[in-house]
């Protein structure tokens, strides 16, 4: 069934407007709460709040959590390996951005 609306759907920008609970983050990434828990311990994600129920993740966590989820399921990497891979990928992205700024 194909559906076409003439009304434009209005979305919200996750990175600008949202703090995510662990439930919302798991739902959006199709990840297990236990995995998110371990990623927080390994420093992949850095929520505010003391307990898992009180955790709030900044919008940017969505990208990181999805990447962590893909790396751990697709490559069967353990959580500390995921943390290392994410750090290195961030560093590569930063270096690429610097190269692009100077147009090299």
């Amino acid at each position: 069934m194909s559906q076409t609306n003439n009304v434009y759907l209005q979305g919200t920008v996750v990175e600008e407007h949202h703090m995510l609970t662990i439930g919302e983050l798991c739902q959006a990434c199709n990840a297990e709460p236990a995995h998110v828990h371990v990623w927080v311990i390994e420093g992949v994600l850095d929520p505010v709040g003391e307990s898992p129920e009180a955790w709030r993740f900044v919008g940017e966590s969505l990208r990181r959590a999805r990447l962590a989820q893909r790396l751990s399921t697709d490559l069967e990497i353990n959580p500390s390996g995921v943390a290392l891979a994410l750090d290195l990928l961030d560093e590569i992205a930063e270096l690429k951005a610097q190269l692009r700024r100077t147009n090299l």
């Binding site: 434009y8 979305g11 920008v13 600008e16 739902q27 990208r63 999805r66 490559l75 100077t102 147009n103």
Partner: protein, 312 residues
């Protein structure tokens, strides 16, 4: 339909042990994973690997696959023999590992297309969230835009069978959105289970490459070539920004590589990004006598050694 040789895809002999299969998969998956690979067709290649692994790591699926015999070659026309899977029970009928519902025709003919079944049953549950990438132009981020987006989305029917359906959504792209950000459309994911709410749809934003403008987060940069006299003496130069033409004042003594900042003229937002003109100096060629004389006159006029800093 073409036959797929899952052993060949993983570079294995048909006698490979479970450990060898796992090792071969992990090695190739690292090489071709779209998040880490620089290979051009990494995504397609990775899907193929995931599918091969989903079959060969599962003893039942592997046995059923092996039963078809070793006479088949990759790419050969293929129809599954009748009752080929008689006697096999594929427990936990999941989709291809890592490949989502996007498995090949060959895989689906053998093992069916199966969605996740975990959330079905009597429980009321929210539908799955979905993700898609959307390419927009840089100017859309400056002005906002309306876009029609066509997605192929898995839809699960009452029997739990999953089918890909095409949906066209008209979406407002908000002004100020940046590459890598996610636009959340509430309730546009999969339908809920047993009256639960529908999931959400997340659109990840990417910019189409622009021939002149480069983007870094909120900041936008472009190259501005100058003649040597413009750089040395200063000038007022017309330049085209994503928001239209502006007049730029080049200060005297500008060096190549210097960045002129146009504060707040990057991608809009709170705070807005900045727009940078990256100065370059282009030497005019000396083709005519008059042009060559000009360079010689410069040589006479200047006491200039460009290598003054070299100590060698």
């Amino acid at each position: 339909m073409k036959f797929k040789d899952y052993y060949e895809i993983l570079g294995l002999a048909r006698s490979a042990s479970a450990d060898e299969i796992k090792q071969a998969y992990r090695k190739l998956a690292r090489k071709f994973h779209p998040d880490v690979s620089k290979v051009a067709d990494a995504e397609a290649k990775f899907k193929e690997l995931g599918e091969a692994y989903a079959v060969l790591k599962d003893p039942e699926k592997r046995a059923a696959y092996d039963q078809m015999g070793s006479q088949w070659k990759s790419g050969q026309d293929f129809q599954p023999p009748p009752n080929w899977d008689a006697g096999f029970e594929f427990s936990g009928r999941d989709s291809a590992h890592g490949a989502g519902v996007d498995s090949s025709e060959f895989f689906e003919a053998l093992f069916g297309r199966h969605g996740r079944t975990g959330q079905r049953g009597a429980r009321t549950a929210k539908g799955e969230d979905h993700h898609a990438k959307v390419l927009i132009d840089l100017v859309d981020a400056y002005q906002g835009a309306q876009r029609s987006i066509t997605l192929r989305m898995p839809v699960q029917d009452a029997d739990g069978r999953v089918d890909l359906q095409e949906r066209t959504l008209a979406v407002a792209i908000p002004k100020g959105i940046r590459a890598g950000q996610h636009l959340r459309l509430s309730g546009q994911g999969s339908s809920g289970f047993n009256g639960g709410p529908a999931g959400d749809l997340y659109l990840e934003i990417e910019f189409n490459p622009h021939p002149e403008f480069r983007v870094d987060g909120r900041d936008v940069l472009f190259d501005l070539p100058l003649a040597p006299w413009e750089a040395a003496l200063g000038a007022s130069i017309a330049a085209l920004t994503p928001e239209g033409p502006v007049q730029l004042t080049i200060p005297p003594g500008s060096k190549a590589g210097r960045q002129l900042r146009l504060k707040g003229k990057g991608i809009p937002g709170t705070p807005p990004g900045d727009l940078y003109a990256v100065l370059g100096i282009v030497l005019p060629p000396a083709n005519t006598d008059a042009e060559r004389d000009s360079y010689r006159a410069m040589e006479m006029a200047f006491d200039f050694n460009p290598r003054a800093n070299l100590t060698g």
